[in-house]
Symmetry: C2
Subunit: 136 residues, 2 copies
DNA sequence: TCATATACCGTAAAATTATTCGGTACTTGA
DNA sequence: TCAAGTACCGAATAATTTTACGGTATATGA
């Protein structure tokens, strides 16, 4: 019982620390922007939502099948906190919710576009360079 | 003795896997570009070397004092492998080496610039939003 | 009735990334 | 002689991120 209580207290402190932690990097403007999108799937999520259409979690997952649903869930929650997307929850059963890109999120799309274009232009070079290697 | 050998063999296999592993993400153009610069300090290193001047590791570290020299060392080596920078080693004592941005690295600068600009434009919003929180 | 789908969450493990520390070898300046 | 600087590397640890798995609750269609 005492041990469980200790674990609970530890957990509460972790939660408090988590709540208080700065989720972005305010050290410099470049790091700020990077820290908002550098997680593996965030740039892809922004690209998915770019047309302004609200999408359900399962739709987003269908477009990014390589990402585990739990990861998308977590990264979408962070993006909501950062103000890049908004979430609408419909009190229905079975449950339904939707994510829509915000103006702040849209303002990142030109950057996403440039990265997309750069990647397309240099894809063959890197495929030739690293294509022979195993993925993992 | 047998245990040590086992560990050595494991290490060799790890090294072989490491050598063969694709260091970038070829799943999609966006992920490719991101994977080249998403490590914490790579975008800052590119920004540091943008003027085309060759810089010594210690100079780069002076400009990015928050990054541990070992980390810069590793990330610079990866950037050399990816072709974003080149390294020149002078066979002198005490040792001297220099890193210079390549044309491929320079082609990423417009993206870095947009992120820099975006970060400057939205800095106050995020500082107001998260400024009250502790950093760690 | 049973599988499927929906969104979500907790836990734990795996994988990756970042950091610290100590050591090499040599020079220069105090 | 001793500290400091120079570049670099190995090893271990810390921190973070990503993933897998199982469970909640309810509806639908076979």
């Amino acid at each position: 019982m005492a041990l469980c209580l200790g674990r609970e207290i530890k957990r509460i402190f972790e939660l408090m620390a988590y709540e208080k932690k700065i989720p972005v990097d305010l050290d410099c403007p470049l790091r700020l922007t990077m820290s908002l999108i550098e997680s593996k799937w965030k740039s892809c999520i922004l690209d998915e939502l770019r047309d302004g259409r609200a999408q359900r979690p399962s739709e987003i997952h269908k477009c990014l099948p390589e990402a585990a649903p739990r990861v998308l869930d977590i990264q979408l929650r962070e993006m909501v906190e950062d103000g890049l997307v908004v979430k609408t929850i419909y009190p229905e059963l079975p449950p339904r919710s939707e994510y829509r890109i915000t103006d702040l999120g849209l303002s990142l799309i030109p950057i996403i576009d440039m990265m997309l274009k750069w990647g397309e232009e240099h894809f063959e070079v890197f495929e030739k360079k690293y294509g022979g290697r195993t993925k993992e």
